[in-house]
Symmetry: C2
Subunit: 144 residues, 2 copies
C-alpha cells in the first residue's frame, strides 16, 4: 500500500489553575506564526495524543498538567499557515506557576474572554468554545 | 522548517439507524487487516475530519449520515498494524439501508454489545466506549 498522505496532527492544551479556574495559560510563540497561543505542538509518531499534550505542556510551560476532557478536534485546512494540521484540544488543570520554555518566549495567565494579546492559529475560536464548555459542559460543536 | 512526522489521521463512524438505535453498522473489510470494522478511513489533506467521516460513510455504506458527537480520539500506537494511525470516532445516525461499497465487501447491522463477527483494529474497545456513551452520555475516557 502506498502510504496515505493525511494532515499533520497536533495536540493543544487549555490549562487552568486549580486555584483560579477563570484563567487560562497562553504562551508567546518563539517561532512563526508569531503571537500568543495555547501550549501545544505536533504529536510524535508512536506517541498517544494525550501523552503529546502532557509533553508539550511540560516543555513549553514547565507545568505537569492533569487532562480533564477532550474539547474537540480542530481541522479547518486554513487554521495553520504552515500547512493542514489537525489539533486535538484538551482541557486541563495545573498547580504552580509556569516557566516559559522550549518554543515559548513567555507564558501568561489570561482571561479567556478577553486575552488582551494577539492569538495565533484558530485559538480565538477554541477559547470561544472553551468559554461555552466552562458555562455548559458542552464540548466543541462539530464543524463542516 | 523540516516537515514534522506525525501519526496518520483517520475518521471512523458509529452509525445507528434512526429507527433502531440499539444497532450499529459494521463493514467487512476488503483489504488487510481483514475482519469487520466501523466504516471509516484516512482523512485527506485539505479535508476536515468531519467531512472525511461523512465521505467514508458514504463510500463504504452508501448512507448519508448525520454526525451527532465526537466519541473520542483513539491513538494507541499499536491499534493499527499498518502503522501509527490516530482515529477520530464519531457517533452518527442514518436512514435507509446500507449498500457495501468501495473498500467494504459487506455491511451489516449488529448489536454493539455482541457483534458476532471478528473485529479489526481497536474497534471492540471503541464499541465498549460507545455502549457507555449510549447509557450515560459520557464520551470516551482519556487514555495514557
Amino acid at each position: 500500500m502506498t502510504a496515505p498522505v493525511t494532515p499533520l496532527l497536533a495536540a493543544d492544551v487549555i490549562i487552568r489553575p486549580q486555584s483560579a479556574p477563570d484563567r487560562v495559560l497562553l504562551i508567546q510563540r518563539r517561532n512563526p506564526p508569531h503571537g500568543w497561543a495555547l501550549p501545544g505542538g505536533f504529536v510524535d509518531r508512536g506517541e498517544r495524543v494525550e501523552a503529546a499534550a502532557l509533553r508539550e505542556a511540560r516543555e513549553e510551560t514547565g507545568l505537569e498538567v492533569a487532562l480533564e476532557a477532550l474539547l474537540g478536534c480542530y481541522s479547518d485546512p486554513a487554521r495553520d499557515p504552515r500547512g493542514h494540521t489537525v489539533s486535538a484540544v484538551y482541557v486541563a488543570t495545573a498547580r504552580g506557576e509556569p516557566r516559559a520554555g522550549d518554543d515559548a518566549r513567555d507564558a501568561r495567565w489570561v482571561d479567556p474572554a478577553d486575552p488582551g494579546v494577539p492569538l495565533a492559529f484558530d485559538h480565538a475560536l477554541i477559547l470561544g468554545d472553551y468559554l461555552r464548555y466552562r458555562a455548559t459542559g458542552e464540548v466543541a460543536p462539530l464543524r463542516f
